[in-house]
C-alpha cells in the first residue's frame, strides 16, 4: 500500500473506533466521570479535608493527577481489549485481515482508538476535577507527553490481552487482578515516601508508579521519582509492548489458523 492509502486505512480504523465509543458514550465516557467525581467527594473532600497537606498541597489537589491518569489507563485499556476481542468474537477482524493493510497499521489503528478514548475521558475527568479541586499546570508539555504515552501503553496492553483472550472472562481478568491493584498501589492516593522502606522498594517495580509521578510533576511540580527517568521507563514499556503486539499479529496468534 502506498503511504496515502495507509493513512486512509489508519484513519478508517481510528474513526470507526471513535464512532464505536461515542455511539455508546453512556457506557464508555459517562461512568468514568461519575466514578471519579465520587473519588473526589469521598477521598478528596470528606476524608481529604481532615488530612494535613502533602508536599505543600491540599490532599484533594494532590490526588487529582493520579485520578485523571487512572481514568485514562482504565479507558484506554478497556477500549482496545473490548473492541478487538469483540471483533475476534464476531469475526469482523477478518475484514481487516483480508485487506492489504500491513499488521502495524491494524495495531496503530486500534491503539489510536484507545488513545482517543483515553483523551476524551481524560478531558471529561479533568473538567469534573475542576469542580472539586484547584487545577495546577506546572509543566503542560510533560502532562501531554505523560497522558499520550500512558494511554498508548495501556492501549497496547489491552490489545495483547485481547489477542490472547478466548472468552469474555479472559478480558476481565487482567483489569481486575492486575491493572486495578497496580493502579491503586501506584501512589494515586499517597506519596511513596509514606511507605516503610521495604514497600518503597517494592513499589519501584510497579510501572504505574512512574506514570503517576510524572503526571504529578507535570501538574503540581512535585514527584517521588525524577520525571525524566519516569518518562524514559514509560517509553521503554511502550516500545517493548509495541514490538510484542506486532510479533503476535504477524504470527497470527488467536486470529489466523
Amino acid at each position: 500500500m502506498k503511504l496515502q492509502q495507509q493513512w486512509i486505512a489508519f484513519h478508517t480504523i481510528v474513526t470507526k473506533e471513535v464512532m464505536r465509543f461515542v455511539r455508546i458514550w453512556v457506557q464508555t465516557v459517562l461512568p468514568a466521570a461519575i466514578t471519579m467525581s465520587l473519588y473526589f467527594v469521598i477521598f478528596g473532600h470528606l476524608i481529604g479535608s481532615q488530612l494535613a497537606p502533602i508536599q505543600g498541597y491540599n490532599y484533594i489537589d494532590y490526588i487529582v493527577p493520579g485520578i485523571i491518569l487512572m481514568a485514562i489507563i482504565n479507558n484506554s485499556y478497556a477500549n482496545v481489549v473490548s473492541s478487538f476481542f469483540s471483533s475476534k468474537f464476531q469475526r469482523h477482524i477478518e475484514e481487516m485481515l483480508i485487506s492489504p493493510m500491513p499488521n502495524y497499521l491494524i495495531l496503530l489503528g486500534y491503539v489510536g482508538g484507545g488513545l482517543m478514548r483515553g483523551l476524551v475521558v481524560g478531558v471529561a475527568v479533568t473538567i469534573v476535577a475542576g469542580l472539586f479541586a484547584h487545577l495546577h499546570m506546572h509543566n503542560p508539555l510533560v502532562i501531554v507527553v505523560v497522558v499520550i504515552l500512558t494511554s498508548v501503553l495501556f492501549a497496547l496492553g489491552g490489545l495483547i490481552n485481547a489477542i490472547y483472550a478466548k472468552t469474555f472472562d479472559d478480558i476481565s481478568i487482567i483489569p481486575t487482578f492486575v491493572l486495578t491493584p497496580l493502579t491503586y498501589l501506584g501512589g494515586i492516593f499517597y506519596s511513596v515516601h509514606m511507605l516503610p522502606p521495604f514497600w518503597q522498594h517494592v513499589s519501584l517495580v510497579n510501572p504505574i508508579l512512574y506514570m503517576i509521578n510524572a503526571m504529578r510533576y507535570g501538574m503540581l511540580g512535585i514527584s517521588d521519582i525524577d520525571y525524566r527517568l519516569a518518562l524514559l521507563i514509560v517509553i521503554g514499556f511502550v516500545v517493548a509492548l509495541y514490538l510484542f503486539a506486532l510479533y503476535l499479529l504477524r504470527k497470527g496468534t488467536g486470529i489466523r489458523y
Binding site: 500500500m1 486512509i8 480504523i13 470507526k16 469482523h92 477478518e94 475484514e95 481487516m96 489458523y257
Partner: protein
C-alpha cells in the same frame, strides 16, 4: 490469458493434527466463473481461507494473478474480494459504514468509498436499509451485504463461499443474475455451493475437492458429457395401469400418470415418444429426476472416479 488463481500441491495440517488439505491443485483462468465443489469437510473453506490469508498454509504455492502470497501478499490481497460462509461483520454497525469502512481498509478515500457503497447497496437492493444496524437485516439481506462489502474495492477476483445458503429461491435467482453481471463485467468468480443446480447454471469450469485433494478439475460441459445415462420423469395425458412395450428403454410406473425412464446417451428421446404415441399416450411435460451435476458429483465423491 492470465491465470487468476494457481494453486499447486497445497497442504494444510491444523494445530490439532487434522490434515485438511493433502495436495490441492487448482487453476482458474481470468474472467472465469468457477465452481469449487466438495462435500462438507472436503477442504473448500480451508482452501479459500488460505487464498484470502485467513489461514496459514503448511506447504504448497498459491498465486493470485501471478502474485505469490508468500512474497507479494499485499498485491495478492488487493485482487481478492471475499464473501465468507459465516456472517462476519459487526452486527452493531450501520450497513453503509460496514461497506464504506471496508473500502477504507483498501486505502480508498472516504468520498469514493461512500459513492461505491451507494452503487453496490443499490444494485443489491439494500440502499433503503443503509442506516439500519446490520443485526436488523434478514438472512438474505446479510448475505447481500457481504457481497456489497466484497465488491466495494472492485476486486479482480470474487470468492463466494456458499453465498446463497439459507436464501429463498427468489433472492437466490436475483443473486445469480447479479453475479452473472459482475462476471460479464470482467470479474473472475469462484463459487462454492451445495446447490449443484446453482453451479451448473452459473459456472463454466468446475473443480471437485474431496478429502483434501482435487478429484476433478475441468470444463462444466465436458464433465456433464461424461454422464452416460439420465433419468427423466414424464407426466402423461392419461392414466395407464401397465407399462407400454418400449424396446431398450428402462421404464417404471411411479403412479398412473407418471412414468420414469432411464435413457443412455446412445438412445433417442424421439424414438421413446414415438413408442408411447403408438399406444395413444402423450407426454404433457418432463423433467430430470435429479440434477445432472448432482449425479456426477455423488459418483465422483463416492467412487473417486466416473
Amino acid at each position: 490469458m492470465t491465470d487468476a488463481l494457481t494453486i499447486s500441491d497445497l497442504t494444510k495440517t491444523y494445530a490439532n493434527g487434522v490434515q485438511a488439505l493433502k495436495g490441492v491443485e487448482l487453476r482458474v483462468r481470468e474472467g472465469d466463473f468457477f465452481a469449487l465443489l466438495g462435500p462438507n469437510g472436503a477442504g473448500k473453506s480451508t482452501t479459500i481461507g488460505i487464498i484470502s490469508s485467513l489461514i496459514r498454509k503448511t506447504a504448497g504455492s498459491v498465486k493470485v494473478f501471478d502474485y505469490d502470497i508468500d512474497t507479494d501478499i499485499e498485491a495478492a490481497k488487493s485482487c481478492i474480494g471475499l464473501v465468507p460462509q459465516e456472517f462476519n461483520f459487526n452486527q452493531f454497525e450501520p450497513v453503509i459504514e460496514i461497506v464504506a469502512n471496508q473500502a477504507g481498509y483498501y486505502g480508498i478515500g472516504r468520498n469514493t468509498a461512500y459513492q461505491r457503497a451507494e452503487k453496490y447497496l443499490k444494485q443489491l437492493g439494500l440502499w433503503g436499509k443503509r442506516r439500519d444496524m446490520a443485526r436488523e437485516l434478514s438472512g438474505g439481506m446479510k448475505r447481500r451485504l457481504m457481497i456489497a462489502r466484497a465488491l466495494v474495492h472492485e476486486p479482480r477476483m470474487l470468492i463466494l463461499d456458499e453465498p446463497t445458503a439459507g436464501v429463498d429461491i427468489e433472492i437466490r435467482r436475483s443473486m445469480w443474475s447479479f453475479l452473472r453481471e459482475v462476471n460479464r463485467a470482467g470479474t473472475t468468480i469462484i463459487l462454492t455451493t451445495h446447490y449443484l443446480e446453482e453451479a451448473e447454471n452459473l459456472c463454466r469450469h468446475i473443480a471437485i475437492i474431496n478429502d483434501g485433494v482435487t478429484v476433478e478439475s475441468t470444463e462444466m460441459k465436458s464433465l456433464l458429457m461424461r454422464l452416460n445415462v439420465e433419468t427423466f420423469v414424464l407426466n402423461l395425458n392419461k392414466a395407464i395401469t401397465e407399462l407400454p412395450p418400449s424396446p431398450g428403454y428402462q421404464l417404471s410406473l411411479i403412479d398412473e400418470t407418471t412414468l420414469e425412464v432411464t435413457i443412455s446417451k446412445e438412445q433417442s428421446m424421439n424414438d421413446l415418444f414415438r413408442c408411447l404415441s403408438d399406444y395413444g399416450i402423450d407426454v404433457i411435460s418432463m423433467r430430470n429426476k435429479t440434477n445432472r451435476l448432482e449425479e456426477l458429483f455423488v459418483r465422483l465423491v463416492e467412487q473417486g472416479a466416473l
